[in-house]
Symmetry: C2
Subunit: 170 residues, 2 copies
């Protein structure tokens, strides 16, 4: 728990005394350990399908924005097209993702999850949501609000833009 009650009244007016290097270090470690847990459940599931985290990410964001283009996905995932292409090709060949030629701009490929793709996405995201739900429940709504605030501040501005786009978008 936070040791804030024990006389260490955080001077909230500009002073920032609550930000010692050690506390920041603990925040860094919390991110490291938590991210491991965050990916653990999907990783286990993915093994059964001989897929990796990269496939999960692609599937997640196609689910999030059905019909998204390859370029848009590249932007969000922050990898090279060669790297994404390898993953996408596998998903398309295996019939989890469908790639449709754009109607206005026929250079573009629009990506959709097939039935099978949606099933995998559901399995993965339910596992991951399960852990998040439990964590949120144990921490409480106030903590959750703070959690999201801090995460948003940690992001690079460009990523924050993507993140916020989903807020209004869907």
């Amino acid at each position: 728990m936070s040791d804030r009650g024990t006389g260490q009244t955080p001077i909230s007016g500009e002073s920032l005394l609550f930000l010692t290097d050690d506390q920041l270090r603990r925040g860094i470690e919390a991110m490291f350990f938590a991210y491991r847990g965050f990916t653990a459940d999907p990783d286990r599931i993915l093994q059964d399908y001989a897929y990796g985290r990269a496939h999960h990410r692609a599937v997640h964001f196609i689910k999030r924005s059905p019909g998204t283009t390859v370029n848009n996905l590249l932007d969000i995932l922050g990898v090279t097209k060669q790297s994404l292409n390898r993953v996408l090709r596998a998903l398309i060949e295996d019939g989890l993702v469908e790639s449709r030629v754009g109607k206005q701009d026929r250079r573009e490929r629009h990506l959709y999850l097939t039935e099978t793709g949606q099933e995998l996405e559901k399995e993965l995201s339910e596992a991951q949501r399960g852990r998040m739900r439990a964590a949120y429940r144990d921490a409480g709504p106030e903590a959750v609000a703070g959690f999201r605030q801090v995460l948003e501040q940690i992001m690079d501005p460009e990523m924050r833009r993507h993140f916020q786009a989903f807020k209004e978008g869907t």
Copy 2:
């Protein structure tokens, strides 16, 4: 379980009304985007030294627990000894880490940062702390408390044990 028909009506019974699938998804995406930012600054620095994230992690936890054994580090990092060994060997050869034979148990190797190692660690952690400090400042102390609470709940129990050990330990 997750009836996505009406979607927004979560299972009642407790006060879990704030935990819709969509909110959980947003939390998941927040973790994804934030982790990218979280590692971005050290990653940039590491390029200059021809090291990777694995080296950073090793250096971080050796700094945190000087004299830690290889086995303990393996436990914390959650990789195989072969994988860690490759990284450790490079750091030792380059004179950033010193490996001392244990005194009680001479099978064990105790790991320490050299002067040079401490310099690199400082450069990396200052960059990473800088981002965390800015995020904490912008989000405020209450948000930070919630942030840490949720992260701790996301961890696997074993990782949480490690995380909490640092709390009392040093």
